[in-house]
Symmetry: C2
Subunit: 212 residues, 2 copies
DNA sequence: GTTTAATTTAAACGCATGTTTAAATCAGAG
DNA sequence: CTCTGATTTAAACATGCGTTTAAATTAAAC
């Protein structure tokens, strides 16, 4: 194949689709390069290793999403004391903006995040927290302030429950939307799923702590 | 190594621990057989294949848990119209009973379920639904009856959100309890985590559907 | 004790993986 | 055109995987 300056992009595009669909370790470099119509060795030439390719795929989305999400949050807090629903909902626009960057960008990004948290051998978790930890902390702080009746330790657990919901839902979003279409004739796109999950999460995070 | 009639059990014990910790496809038969101190080929001799070993590992827990959970549910519905909280709470006793069968049995079982749910290449989903589908349907039906204001399609999604929460929480329960102990001086066992998550789940599942 | 079936063992098979190599090809500068 | 550095290419490498094989060993029946 002739020299082509977009080899890196072709690899990233093919990789992100396959990673989102089947997970990282279940996707071989040979499958990626055959879909991208590039040579097998070009992955190692351009990215060094499979791990670095995974990070590059995620970074392409995180570099767009994280600053946008932070901006939305700043804007939201400037005008009012936002509710939990508003805080979660402030993520919707930055998420949907990813569809302008790439077709199915929102779904791909969320699925990649889910795969990353589930499969994480540590290198991804480290990569995300060291590169985007500041943005994450801002978000956690805003959530805590919006539900002051929840003690910090309880909030810690509930935010991780929330993370679990999001991650699992997105990792299996394709299968679930298929089942929903077959069983209930409900045809959901990724935005519909996002808008379904937000009230569920907000209710759980804010529910009063029972002593019992 | 001498002939030993408990080879099957040694394999199951080693396999369930490793499967729960690292997932199915990330756990090789060579790792299992070395931890179990049995010959590599004995897995194929006793179980036929890796897939059948996975099913056998899960069946050992499901055969205990599912009937017990069904019994609890029948008992609960006999005396009253149970609330969502009561229905979820009815699972606690069957779950904790698994600790009598094996040390850390509850945690292992929940982690295995989580791994099976994400990694599922179909054979596990098929195995669970064909062998334990009746029990699952009873539970789903009870949940739906306790929240009649939630349409079936919405309930489908919320139950999967719930599954995601449980599965992710249990998969990372070790790390989370450690962090909670360090940051908040909270010392939780698996039962404490289960009792924290139930109100969160019940609130999310039952929250009224907003039209917006 | 001998025979028979079940089990364990070491070795190999076939295949897929990520990575590396060295030659071939390309694009741009002089 | 010629040279140079970047890129692409085909091939091989080393490793790990699930599985199979055939011989060795064990336990039980007679």
């Amino acid at each position: 194949m002739a020299n082509r300056s977009d080899t890196k992009t072709r690899i990233l595009d093919a990789a992100e689709k396959l990673f989102a669909e089947r997970g990282f370790s279940e996707t071989s470099l040979r499958l990626i390069t055959s879909k991208a119509e590039v040579n097998l060795a070009s992955v190692n030439y351009h990215f060094g290793s499979k791990k670095e390719l995974i990070r590059a795929v995620l970074a392409r989305y995180l570099d767009r999403f994280m600053p946008a999400a932070s901006d939305e949050l700043v804007q939201l807090k400037a005008s009012s004391e936002p509710s939990l629903n508003e805080i979660f909902s402030s993520l919707v626009k930055p998420l949907l903006e990813l569809n302008k960057f790439k077709a199915e960008g929102t779904r791909t990004f969320l699925q990649l995040l889910g795969r990353g948290y589930i499969e994480s051998q540590g290198h991804l978790r480290w990569f995300i927290t060291t590169h985007y930890g500041t943005h994450l902390n801002e978000f956690v702080k805003a959530v805590a302030e919006s539900a002051p009746h929840i003690p910090p330790a309880e909030m810690f657990w509930r935010l991780h429950f929330t993370l679990g919901t999001v991650v699992f839902t997105m990792a299996s979003a394709d299968a679930l939307t298929e089942i929903a279409a077959a069983d209930f004739n409900e045809h959901n796109d990724i935005e519909a799923v996002i808008r379904k999950v937000i009230p569920y999460l907000a209710a759980g995070v804010a529910v009063p702590v029972t002593s019992q």
